[in-house]
């Protein structure tokens, strides 16, 4: 099925282009034409792959989530001990700020968009499910840590939520005041505080 492969590749190229354009100018200030130009295709061609600008954002969001998932999977591969998983997760998270900066800008757009969408909108569900699933994953680690005697934690789910909230909040603050932070320091301090908060 060479054609299918080709389509899939072009789709990804459009998504990568959209990510850069949206990240730089913001979703609403970006034109479909700019995305097309960045993807080196014609404006109309985007519509062969995506239904609308909104759906392009949705697809891009899904694409980013999947990339993030792969990223964390790779970073946490073969690590067994819960405390170490947490440490590596936090380090990977902070490292991703710089490495994947455009992602975070686009996430701002997604937050702004999703917040006003219908409860049942795909974007919103996608966003929510991504959080829920991240929380679930992290909760299992916390639980394993508790079971293994590494952590003290009455509410593993809330602890997981707490950790993810920290990461998102830090990403946000860093985005608007990059000079104020040293990422290495931030990693260290974040790790220390999270580990302490887990007992």
């Amino acid at each position: 099925m060479p054609i299918v492969v080709d389509k899939e590749r072009k789709r990804s190229e459009i998504l990568e282009a959209a990510m850069l354009v949206f990240a730089r100018k913001g979703f609403h200030r970006s034109k479909m034409e700019e995305v097309a130009a960045a993807a080196k295709i014609g404006k109309g061609t985007i519509y062969e792959y995506f239904d609308s600008k909104h759906q392009l954002l949705q697809a891009l969001h899904g694409y980013m989530l999947s990339k993030l998932k792969d990223y964390y999977a790779a970073e946490l591969k073969d690590i067994e001990e819960p405390p170490e998983i947490i440490r590596r997760f936090l380090a990977a998270a902070v490292a991703s700020f710089r490495e994947w900066e455009p992602f975070f800008y686009v996430f701002c757009d997604v937050w702004a968009e999703a917040g006003r969408a219908e409860q049942q909108s795909l974007l919103r569900i996608q966003l929510r499910d991504a959080y829920r699933s991240s929380i679930d994953d992290l909760m299992l680690v916390v639980e394993a840590g508790v079971a293994g005697g590494f952590f003290h934690c009455e509410r593993p789910r809330l602890a997981a939520e707490h950790i993810l909230a920290c990461v998102d909040g830090l990403a946000l603050h860093w985005l608007y005041d990059q000079d104020a932070f040293d990422l290495d320091e931030m990693t260290e301090a974040l790790t220390r505080m999270v580990m302490r908060s887990l007992g």
Copy 2:
């Protein structure tokens, strides 16, 4: 004799109207006409008070920041002990999620806008300075707590940043999955973890 109008009051009315409209529909999907209707004035009148839609958002952001500041000042009035300040701050923060929900939606718009503005744009500077000043305030509390023997903390500034990041991250997550959280539980768990992370 010209008509005498309390310009400051009308300005606030427009800002309140803008907050509700922007919160519900999002900045870009809101029309100036809708803001005007919500403020019960004519479309053109907004421009007597604000230069442009963008500047209205900026002014609204400033207005919200000032309201938030007053809110925390009132909530933390007369509290002396650092641990208690932190506890009350966290409780007030979580309580504000529900109470001031529209604020948080508008903050999403501000994040999305500010991220793409010039470094020197007023919106961006306003956002950054608000964070910096919040961090400063909180850092002083942490330092006082360390001095008073309540807390252990090597880097009070990073601890303060960490606490604020938690709050913002939780606000964000809560916004998109309100059913998943019990705010009382969240307050309790957040407080516990923050207190622990401060040693």
Copy 3:
């Protein structure tokens, strides 16, 4: 009747203000508010003296025509000989370019406006009558010159028209390329050619 005098004075002040503002920015780009500011009165006050922006232009046009008439009357006072009248008229005309430059800019607006107005519009009639009356005046001079043996001219009316057209045309060209002309030279050459063309 002191009140009447006062009203008349303020009316003139508004007209002078309008002239400067219209001359600088053009009729359509000028705001009533700017005219009011230039006249140091409130925006609404203009409407006590003029019905509308269009009527203000019309009144300004009439005001300018009347000023021009006075100017020429003063310049040509007590001159008897037709050739000398012509000479002095041409000199006065060219001198007015610089002296009354704003007039000419406003005339451009009047031409642009009047051209699209109804045949019966006051602005158009005013413009036409001013030309007709100027031509009549000048024609009488030419006729007197012919009768006095100074000029040869089969069609004094057309000659008068010709002379006025020259003056208007020169004003227009001068307006857009002031550096290209030396007004003294222009006066001299214009006079020479007109005198020649009158035989």
Copy 4:
């Protein structure tokens, strides 16, 4: 395959439409939508060919100047003797009043606009250069006439300027009082007076 369109032709069609609309209603009173309707295209399409309303006027001005140039070139083709060139030029000029009446209305708009534009504005430069170049051309004719013993003229440039000013002034007067003129008579009288003024 993209749609193939003769962009140059469509551009001209828009310019012709703009000329008629602007001539009838005036630049400022014409809406882009009316121009589009006259060109039988959608409102947005104009912006595929021109950046703004102002630039459309500028382009239209250039288009008109080029048409006029072609017109005179055709009218004066193969004529050698300077007096005959002048005669034919004047006849062509007066004939153009009726034939190309819309042009002259639009010129009024251009005069009004250009007068308030920056010195370096394209419209202004275009206008000035057109005059300069017309004067140059006519000056060469006058000089040739002097050299050939047909004319007496101390300042050929000023004579050329004078002749063009007459033509523009007559056009202007005619525009607002068409009934007062017989164009044939005007041609004859104009020619006579110009020839006399050239000695």
